[in-house]
């Protein structure tokens, strides 16, 4: 059985991507893994002291949102797994693909305000990911 790795962040903007990944997994009979990366590099912007274990807090938030995604998948008749990693998105995605043996990566299409990539940048990101991992990369 092949595996689909769906990189998601939660929020309504991610729902179409999650639904698309669920549909794809059901169609192919593949396993589905929802994947979140906790990246705290944005904290370098601030000049204030940071003493909280932010990664732990964000990981908990990430697991909450992945649990929501798993519930949505279960409502559609698919049992999905959830994985949270800490680090930078690209590096962790590549590592996760190898570790989990995923054949397909699903990335979310930019949804206006929630997007961190525009279409062009996302396409380039996907192409690079495909080259490194050898996995099929779909943008849904």
């Amino acid at each position: 059985m092949s595996k689909i790795l769906c990189a998601t962040r939660g929020g309504e903007g991610s729902h179409p991507t999650q639904d698309g990944a669920v549909a794809l997994a059901k169609e192919r009979g593949d396993e589905l893994v929802f994947f979140v990366v906790v990246d705290i590099s944005f904290l370098n912007q601030t000049a204030a002291p940071l003493v909280v274990d932010v990664e732990a807090r964000l990981e908990k938030m990430g697991r909450f949102q992945l649990a929501m995604a798993q519930e949505r998948a279960a409502d559609q008749g698919l049992e999905a797994q959830a994985v949270v990693r800490r680090g930078h998105l690209r590096a962790e995605l590549v590592a996760a693909v190898k570790e989990l043996g995923a054949d397909t990566i699903v990335l979310g299409r930019p949804q206006d305000r929630e997007a961190i990539f525009d279409d062009k940048a996302l396409a380039a990101f996907a192409k690079g990911l495909q080259a490194v991992t050898g996995a099929e990369v779909l943008i849904l």
Partner: protein, 580 residues
């Protein structure tokens, strides 16, 4: 292979305690010397002695000039009879050799000032010749623009730009600024004295170690408290008490955030509240931004109430000598009024969003939320809470017993390590050493600006603008601070404004009530609400929110933040006029 020396956890605990203990001793000795200050000069014996000249050097803003070379020349000679260097308070003392002089000239030179000659009056020369001490009136030196001025100024601007554009980590950017200033001072200064800004010794004099140790102590205290899960529990209680009424939830969360920001600091508060708030919002089926943005606005306002609530207050309090009680008594009532107005504004702005709360999540997700909102370490909370309450008492009575806030924070940190028994390796990790280095580098960079006179020029400009009128001074300071805080990170901004406000406090009649310091606090903190980049809590909240898939755009924040800023700054200004 080299054997790595590894200290046991017990040894590491004692090592950290020794470091904190030394920091305590240092702080105590600075606030109250533990040993007598030795006289810098020994008294002359009963043998015949020459006269002496003393005086004081000031810059155009009345600030003492330190490190100026003062030389006395007699009877038209080229070689100085004696040299002296002006001290931190601007004073100098020249002990002249015995002799008869027809004329005496004092030559004063210092980088970034025009060389000055003072021809002494005949009566003063006669006094000196008779072996008496003479005191000269305070002498104002005139500043001049030098290459060093441009080096210091452009280096600082570069640091601000690098931080704003996120090209470098903030600490790296600040250290780059320091490296440029010191590099030009030493290398450039050897070629042309006009490049010299200051040396290491002088640079370190600008570092306010009260701030460093206060921040360090609070880091440890906060790190222990937040581990207990108390903030997540409070947020969950707000959810439970509101019973699905979103307007009530937002009101309670804003109050919690405001109070927490006053007691801990507003960045930490938002780092703790934002993730659980997002989960609560998702559980209720509402857009998390409609709760997060009001929370961060409340944190910027609430943090002003106390000395330790915002990094800007810590900077202001230490520089101006304002204690915990000063902020509590003089700002808290105004903050409460501003918070009430802010809550009403937010409820009005988001009324449609709150009314349209959608279908919530399943019971399983609600249970997951309940799990997230648990107090995870009740015993630790009991102990840490007790220590924190004692710390608050010491902050309040500190002025009375001559206990500076930094010492209270260090004592609290030591108590946490000794009694709450936190993992020592984790404690070493939670101290944000890079931020402490950032503060040190920032102090040195602003010190360079003071050395070369940029701060004086700014202070003089503002002084001319306000013309000695306290009302105008308050309005100009509060609103310019509010405006600039929206575009510049308020920590470097506040650090730069400290000497400027110090000058205005000394020169504007009526300002001795410290009203201008409180005005800077209000403007710098509340002004940070106007834009997304205006303050650190805004940035960290936006970062967390984006990682959850809910991006706060600049415009979206501005639509709420700008009117909120105007409302709260107006109330803050009115409060200042009422109070002072």
């Amino acid at each position: 292979m080299r054997k790595r020396l590894v200290a046991s956890p017990t040894m590491q605990r004692w090592l950290l305690l020794i470091i904190l203990g030394l920091a305590l001793v240092l702080e105590l000795s600075v606030s109250r010397p533990l040993w007598p200050v030795l006289a810098q000069e020994t008294a002359a014996g009963p043998a015949e002695r020459g006269g002496s000249l003393e005086g004081r050097l000031l810059d155009p803003q009345g600030e003492p000039i330190h490190g100026a070379d003062v030389a006395a020349l007699a009877d038209g000679g080229d070689e100085p009879l004696v040299h002296a260097e002006s001290q931190n308070d601007g004073s100098y003392l020249l002990d002249l050799p015995p002799g008869e002089f027809d004329s005496l000239i004092i030559e004063i030179s210092r980088p970034h000032f025009y060389p000055t000659e003072l021809h002494l009056e005949d009566s003063t020369v006669a006094q000196i010749t008779a072996g008496e001490a003479a005191r000269l009136p305070d002498l104002e030196l005139t500043r001049r623009l030098t290459p060093g001025f441009w080096v210091a100024t452009l280096s600082f601007v570069l640091v601000l730009v690098l931080i704003a554009l996120e090209r470098l980590h903030k600490t790296t950017a600040a250290l780059l600024g320091v490296a440029l200033v010191l590099g030009f001072s030493f290398v450039g200064g050897a070629i042309n004295p006009d490049f010299f800004i200051f040396d290491f010794e002088r640079a370190l004099e600008y570092v306010d170690f009260d701030v460093i140790f206060l921040v360090m102590g609070m880091m440890i205290v906060i790190a222990v408290i937040e581990e207990t899960g108390i903030f997540q529990w409070l947020a969950y209680q707000a959810y439970r008490l509101s019973r699905g009424k979103v307007w009530l939830l937002v009101t309670i969360l804003m109050i919690i955030t405001s109070v927490a920001s006053a007691l801990l600091d507003n960045v930490t508060t938002m780092l703790l509240m934002a993730p659980i708030t997002i989960q609560i919002a998702l559980t209720l089926g509402i857009n998390p931004l409609s709760v997060l943005i009001p929370e961060v606005l409340a944190s910027n306002v609430g943090g002003i109430s106390t000395l330790i609530g915002t990094p800007t207050n810590i900077l202001i309090g230490s520089y101006a000598g304002l204690g915990f009680n000063d902020f509590l008594i003089n700002l808290t009532p105004g903050v409460v009024l501003a918070l009430v107005a802010l809550i009403l504004f937010v409820l009005l702005h988001y009324r449609k969003t709150y009314a349209a709360a959608g279908k919530g999540l399943s019971d399983a997700m609600r249970e997951r939320l309940r799990e997230s909102g648990r107090i995870t370490q009740p015993e630790k909370l009991r102990k840490a809470g007790l220590i924190f309450v004692v710390m608050l008492v010491f902050f309040i009575i500190g002025d009375t017993i001559h206990l500076v806030p930094a010492v209270t924070a260090l004592l609290g940190a030591v108590a946490m390590l000794l009694w709450v028994s936190t993992d020592i390796e984790e404690m070493l990790k939670v101290v944000d050493w890079t931020t402490l280095m950032f503060f040190i580098a920032l102090f040195i960079s602003v010190g360079a600006l003071q050395e070369v006179g940029l701060i004086s020029f700014i202070a003089a400009g503002i002084g001319s603008l306000v013309g000695g009128n306290l009302t105008v001074a308050i309005l100009v300071l509060v609103w310019s601070a509010a405006l600039l805080s929206g575009v510049i990170d308020n920590i470097p901004f506040a650090a730069t404004m400290l000497p400027v406000v110090g000058f205005l406090t000394r020169t504007v009649p009526g300002a001795e009530s410290h009203v201008l310091w409180y005005g800077l606090s209000i403007g710098a903190a509340m002004g940070g609400n106007s834009t997304l980049i205006g303050s650190s809590p805004n940035l960290v909240t936006a970062g967390i929110s984006e990682r959850a898939g809910f991006r706060i755009s600049y415009l979206e924040f501005l639509k709420v933040g700008l009117p909120a800023t105007v409302i709260t700054v107006v109330i803050g200004t009115i409060w200042l006029f009422i109070r002072f």
